[in-house]
């Protein structure tokens, strides 16, 4: 293979000559230390290379070797429970090999080559197969069955298929194609910047239930959908994404820590092996893949990290799983893009970001979706993508926020004033939105009941009304409002404090099933409608609002999932106590 020569080094950007055989996005080895890099611009034989490791000590004259392959990830059994850096190097193995700090030029494969996996075939000799067909399975963890698929580009008849224990590099099947026999192994590769194919994209129609009340009830995201969480620092982006990783009913979770804090990854690493998945009862880590390219790790690998993550996610989607990917934070990805662009001396767009930022953001989010997978048996997979955005000063006019809002369907607007009041999740209920409401209507009608849509609409209308009333009250004082309006304010407060507010760190409050969410909102609504009636009959407002049952409504969040019948009692108490005040007013 031809060798290039470095002529320039500027931070993560290296320029080399003699690269006329290289292709765009090929992986190259840079310098005597063989640092990993990727070709990102070609002009004649001059290649610009972004280097995924620190470039200190690198200088002109050193060689550059082209590997001839684009930046790719390894796919196969062993992905689950792994923790990788931005270019899929296993951080646990790195620690074993070089210690607590990450040094340079480390070359460790992403997947264990020695481990044997028990492979059970699901096809027979003589079967016709095409890309995406499942040829067999491996029980990867107690909750994940890893399906081995015919790789794209292979069509033919099964010549031989094996059963038993194999490493990922051993042949498990042979397929006779027009161009000869092809050996299939469990280890496959896929270039990260290319979307994995599917048969067709379908509109999302099932919610990704997260156990987070404001999200599931007000601004749901669909399985296969996209959402973003912009907000200033400290407003709760990371906690929301962690809550998603913990409690959402996805079958596979890919968590990408992109240029953020090391301790937040440690937090996940320490917690997930301990926490139980509410659906499977198994430990959460058994369905999770972690990508950690923290803020102190090389910038270029940060740029790659979200692609590494999403390619692994697509691979599981192709097996027919519902996968959720969280990226914290996409702003750091965009900044990495900006830094490289600046060093390439490209024409800067807004805030110095390259003009192609919106295109890149769109390409990334467009890889989400509910799909009909390649291969037989008509399986469906879904990949939901959630991105945190960290705009400077929380300012939503930030180019990364704007580029993101153009593509995603759900917007959870985090605001610092809510966080200062410790109202968490600090999602502003007035300007957040979900464009999936219509797609999901049918599902909610079936699962939650006919009245759900109306309950949701009413609750949101009350909150809207509260905002208007508060404006008026600011000018004239609360006492000047009618009792009906004051009741609206009370109910709005109850919706905010007793329903929307949710403490991620409280063992019960951290997760609320949809059934419980329904009951919680229902008691608030019941109280409101009965109180409205009572007011009409002339009941004293103060007396209404000091009914003891309100305390129980406030504490409903602590009712455990196995005791939802407690809500019956609360409902009865509302009725009973209302009757009593009614009685009082009649006799008065």
């Amino acid at each position: 293979m031809k060798e290039g020569r470095i002529i320039k080094v500027s931070g993560p950007l290296v320029v080399a000559l003699g690269m006329d055989e290289a292709k765009m996005y090929n992986v190259v080895r840079v310098g005597e230390k063989k640092l990993i890099g990727e070709v990102i611009e070609l002009r004649g034989d001059r290649a610009s290379i972004q280097v995924y490791e620190e470039t200190g000590g690198l200088g002109p004259g050193e060689p550059v070797f082209d590997t001839g392959e684009p930046l790719s990830v390894e796919l196969g059994p062993g992905l689950i429970q792994s923790i990788y850096d931005g270019i899929q190097r296993p951080l646990d193995m790195i620690r074993k090999k070089v210690g607590d700090h990450i040094t340079r030029g480390i070359d460790i494969p992403a997947l264990d080559r020695k481990k044997k996996w028990k492979f059970g075939p699901s096809i027979k000799e003589g079967n016709k197969v095409s890309p995406g067909d499942i040829i067999g399975t491996v029980q990867e963890t107690s909750v994940v069955v890893h399906k081995i698929m015919v790789p794209p580009g292979i069509d033919g008849v099964v010549e031989e298929v094996k059963e038993g224990e194999f490493t990922i590099e051993e042949t498990i099947a042979e397929i006779k194609t027009d161009s000869g026999i092809r050996e299939i192994k469990m280890l496959q590769r896929w270039p990260v910047r290319r979307e994995r194919p599917c048969r067709e994209k379908l509109p999302p129609c099932i919610p990704l239930i997260t156990g987070q009340r404001i999200i599931d009830a007000f601004f749901p995201v669909a399985k296969g959908g996209t959402a973003c969480v912009p907000g200033p620092f400290g407003s709760g982006k990371t906690v929301i994404l962690h809550q998603f990783a913990k409690w959402s009913d996805a079958e596979i979770v890919i968590y990408v820590g992109c240029g953020e804090r090391g301790n937040e990854m440690t937090d996940v690493l320490m917690e997930f092996p301990e926490l139980d998945d509410p659906r499977t009862g198994e430990k959460l880590i058994k369905r999770t893949v972690l990508i950690a390219n923290t803020s102190n790790m090389p910038v270029a690998a940060r740029e790659a990290s979200i692609y590494t993550g999403i390619t692994i996610a697509e691979y599981f989607r192709d097996m027919g799983y519902s996968v959720a990917l969280m990226a914290d934070s996409t702003s750091r990805w965009a900044e990495a893009l900006r830094e490289i662009s600046g060093r390439l001396e490209e024409m800067p767009g807004e805030e110095g970001y390259p003009a192609y930022l919106p295109t890149r953001a769109a390409q990334f989010y467009e890889r989400a979706g509910r799909v009909k997978c390649l291969g037989g048996n008509n399986r469906e997979g879904a990949l939901s993508v959630l991105g945190a955005v960290s705009p400077p000063g929380g300012d939503l006019s930030d180019p990364v926020v704007q580029a993101t809002l153009k593509v995603v369907q759900v917007f959870w607007s985090l605001e610092d004033w809510l966080a200062y009041e410790r109202h968490f999740p600090a999602i502003n209920w007035l300007n957040s939105y979900s464009l999936y409401i219509d797609n999901l209507r049918e599902y909610f009608r079936k699962e939650a009941g006919e009245d759900w849509a109306e309950m949701r609409r009413e609750a949101m209308a009350i909150l809207q009304k509260e905002a208007e009333l508060k404006e008026i009250a600011r000018l004239v004082g609360v006492d000047a409002l009618s009792v009906e309006d004051r009741l609206t304010l009370e109910t709005a407060k109850s919706i905010r404090e007793d329903f929307l507010h949710q403490n991620a760190f409280h063992e019960v409050d951290t997760y609320t099933s949809f059934a419980k969410q329904y009951r919680m909102l229902k008691v608030i609504r019941l109280f409101h409608s009965q109180a409205e009636e009572a007011l009409q009959r002339g009941v004293d407002f103060k007396e209404l609002t000091s009914l003891p049952v309100r305390e129980e409504i406030a504490r409903a969040r602590y009712i455990t999932e196995d005791k939802l019948e407690t809500f019956d009692a609360v409902e009865q108490k509302i009725a009973a106590q209302m009757k009593e005040v009614k009685g009082a007013s009649v006799s008065a």
Binding site: I7, K8, V9, S10, G11, V15, E54, T55, G56, G57, L58, G59, P60, G61, I83, L91, R95, G99, D100, H101, I102, T103, P232, F233, G234, G257, G259, R261, G262, N263, M265, T266, L269, A292, T294, S295, N296, M297, V299, R332, E335, R338, E339, G342, P348, G352, S390, P392, G393, G394, D395, D416, Y420, E421, R422, R474, G477, V478, F505, E551
Partner: protein, 459 residues
């Protein structure tokens, strides 16, 4: 012997362009020898064929194009470390300025360090008692955390930082403790305040100080915090000490970085700061923390003054995105004569949840903390409303919260510069304030704690 070059082509601000160089590498250390023999240090920012762009650490005044010699040293800039660092004062580039001898190095470390593998980190969870209620009770600091103080010109951040350095302890433990202090462009008075305070309390014997003053070359500041972290890493991870790193004032550091960026004519980000400011700060701050299986720890307290007291200015903003919370000082509270003027509402410790509670502080801590916050926020809101509508327009309960907020600032937040409150004192103080509110309003506290702590008068 390194090759010498006499081929300086131009000098622009802190940048020197050297031509006809061979073998220069990115980020390596450069020595510039002036005609009079004086040595200046710098590092390579970019190599392009035979041209090397060098950023000086000691300013370019006196450097000339024709007479100065340039040597490329083939390694990064280093700090000599040994246990003798403790008790010593250095300049911003790590040279002794206390009249003492040079450090006999146990080893020399590249000041850039290498990133901690996230897999190797241990989660910080040991409560540090600072003796300051607004921190211990509401923004609890834990060992290995990075918590900045967002201050403003003229606010008493040196006093607070010094008080923390003096009082910080982990309960029930006698472990080796050290302070590394990095000063970037602060005044002589401020620096002297720290040094005398360390002397007064004897802390100086377990402190290493790196001092770059306001009248020292601005560009030297770019190395100073890295010197401090390198010393801290050595003490913490090689020697098993618990190190508190105090950096003041990071705003000056960021301005120096902006200066270099402008001299390179880079595309400026917000307010002229370079787009890589986040990464630059993060790669330093992430050197703090704990590592599995190692004894020591690095806890980081950086101080920065917010230009125009603006929290959305890029320096505090990017800092807040990196650190694990922030302590925000308020000029308004300062004007009321309250020390420490900590504005608790926007302040935050992200790591508190794992550092408080039974066995760490006390079982009721989390609930008391939530309730105090909520009550203070409500009181503040009532105070704002009263400004618009008059106090008379407030409901009886809101009036109670109004008074609560005042008392909270005067009794809970306010304390003496030498007042070292135990965590029990802080928590009990919280309860004594909550007692002025109706029990029904204490929604964030579990009934069993109300039972146990609220009714007890004798605390």
């Amino acid at each position: 012997m390194a090759k010498e070059y006499l081929t300086i082509r131009e000098i622009v601000g802190p940048l020197v362009l050297v031509e006809e160089v061979s073998g220069a590498t990115y980020d390596e250390l450069v020595e510039l020898e002036l005609p009079d023999g004086e040595i200046r240090r710098g590092k390579v920012l970019e190599v392009d064929e035979d041209k090397a762009l060098v950023q000086l650490f000691e300013g370019s005044s006196g450097v000339d194009v024709f007479g100065s010699r340039v040597r490329f040293l083939g390694k990064g800039i280093e700090l000599s470390v040994s246990m003798d660092l403790l008790g010593r004062v250095f300049d911003g580039l790590g040279r002794p300025i206390d009249g003492g001898p040079r450090i006999l190095p146990e080893k020399r470390l590249d000041i850039n360090g290498t990133p901690i593998n996230p897999y190797a980190r241990d989660y910080p969870s040991e409560f540090i008692q600072t003796g300051i209620s607004a921190i211990d009770g509401l923004n609890t600091l834990v060992r290995g955390q990075k918590l900045p103080i967002f201050s403003g010109a003229g606010l008493p951040h040196p006093q607070i930082a010094a008080q923390i350095a003096r009082q910080a302890k982990v309960l029930g433990e006698e472990e080796e403790f050290a302070v590394v202090f990095g000063a970037m462009g602060i005044t002589f008075e401020e620096s002297d305040y720290f040094i005398s305070d360390f002397r007064r309390t004897g802390a100086i014997d377990r402190a290493a100080l790196f001092i770059n003053l306001a009248d020292d070359p601005a560009i030297e500041r770019l190395a100073t915090p890295r010197m401090a972290f390198t010393a801290a890493e050595y003490l913490a991870f090689d020697k098993g000490m618990h190190v508190l790193v105090i950096l003041s004032d990071m705003t000056n550091y960021c301005e120096a970085l902006r200066e270099v960026s402008a001299a390179r004519k880079e595309v400026p980000g917000r307010r002229g700061y370079p787009g890589y400011l986040y990464t630059d700060l993060a790669s330093m701050y992430e050197r703090a923390g704990r590592i599995k299986g190692r004894q020591g720890s690095i806890t980081l307290m950086t101080i920065l003054t917010m230009p125009e007291d603006d929290k959305t200015h890029p320096i505090p903003d990017l800092t807040g995105y990196i650190t694990e919370g922030q302590i925000i000082l308020s000029r308004q509270i300062h004007k009321k004569g309250i020390y420490p003027p900590i504005d608790v509402l926007p302040s935050l410790s992200r790591l508190k949840d794992k550092g408080i509670g039974e066995g760490k502080t006390r079982e009721d801590h989390s609930d008391v903390f939530n309730q105090l916050f909520a009550a203070y926020a409500r009181g503040k809101e009532a105070q704002e409303l009263a400004v618009i509508l008059g106090e008379a327009a407030l409901s009886e309960t809101d009036k109670l919260f109004f008074t609560f907020a005042d008392r909270f600032e005067l009794e809970y937040v306010q304390q003496g510069e030498d007042e070292d409150r135990t965590i029990a004192e802080t928590l009990n103080l919280g309860w004594s304030l909550l007692r002025m509110l109706p029990a029904a309003e204490l929604k964030r506290i579990r009934p069993e704690f109300i039972e146990k702590y609220l009714k007890e008068d004798a605390h």
